[in-house]
């Protein structure tokens, strides 16, 4: 009787071991398969992201060069104070950082251009001599000297400056450049 119970107990334990261990093996195989697929996908991610850093570095280098050149041009054409004020008007807070290649620009007191003019007007005022703001401002002095700032534009007209922009192009009534003008200078 005792031997029978012993054998039954051993058999039950062995059966339990077999059942659970086989189940665990199956679960571990699923885990291993899933991890293999995960590793494959992660490998693809690593492979695909490998060229990102040098490409982004190159893009940033190009953009840095452009920013430096444009800032230099702006300072050259508008002067340090107006340049800082213009950039601060377009990008509030940028005056504190200053320009990259002009260390003293961070300490330049920027005129509060943006409190008077909108961004579009600022851009026109700085880039276009034909901007209405260049002529006069009802609330104070113009951003640019209304006379000196438009001398070059006035040079385009034979008489008084008209109230609109001149007609340009090949069909314009007045050709402002000689036909043999050197195109490389434009």
């Amino acid at each position: 009787m005792g031997a029978v119970i012993l054998i039954v107990a051993v058999v039950l334990i062995v059966l339990a071991l077999v059942y659970y261990l086989v189940s665990v093996i199956v679960a571990l195989q699923k885990i291993a398969t899933g991890l293999d697929e995960t590793i494959t996908a992660v490998g693809e991610i690593i492979e695909k992201t490998a060229p990102v850093a040098p490409v982004v570095d190159d893009i940033n280098a190009n953009l840095d060069a452009a920013v430096s050149a444009l800032e230099g041009l702006l300072v050259k054409k508008a002067g340090m104070a107006d340049a800082v004020g213009l950039v601060d008007g377009l990008y509030p807070g940028a005056a504190k950082a200053g320009f990259r290649d002009f260390p003293d620009s961070a300490t330049t007191k920027a005129p509060r251009i943006s409190t008077v003019y909108t961004r579009g007007t600022l851009t026109l005022a700085r880039l276009g001599r034909e901007a209405p703001i260049a002529a006069a401002s009802p609330n104070g002095p113009a951003l640019r000297n209304a006379v000196a700032g438009s001398l070059a534009a006035r040079g385009l007209y034979f008489g008084e400056r008209p109230g609109r922009s001149p007609v340009i192009g090949t069909n314009a009534p007045v050709q402002y450049e000689a036909s043999d003008a050197d195109p490389s200078t434009v």
Binding site: I5, Y20, I31, T38, I45, L63, A69, L70, K76, K77
Partner: protein, 83 residues
């Protein structure tokens, strides 16, 4: 003696073995869905990065844009008076 050993195995050892193995199986099965989620996330991440080669196009376009800006800057330098 044999009877006592058999009873101990049956009443004490067997339940403990079953309990421990059941716990191991339960935890192993709990890992499977987590691994599946990680696998799906990695696959989705890998698929999202299929657009990375477009960065090369962006790189080329940025270079061309900067060259154009430089050309415009040169023209503006000629056209506009210095401060």
């Amino acid at each position: 003696m044999t009877l006592a050993v058999g009873l101990i195995l049956l009443v004490v050892v067997f339940p403990i073995v079953v309990l421990l193995l059941h716990g191991v199986l339960k935890e192993a099965n709990a890992i499977v869905p987590s691994v599946a989620k990680i696998r799906d996330a990695a696959r989705a991440g890998s698929k999202d990065l299929d657009a990375v080669p477009l960065l090369l196009t962006t790189q080329r376009q940025v270079k061309e844009t900067v060259e154009n800006v430089a050309a415009y800057g040169g023209s503006l330098d000629v056209i506009l008076d210095d401060a």
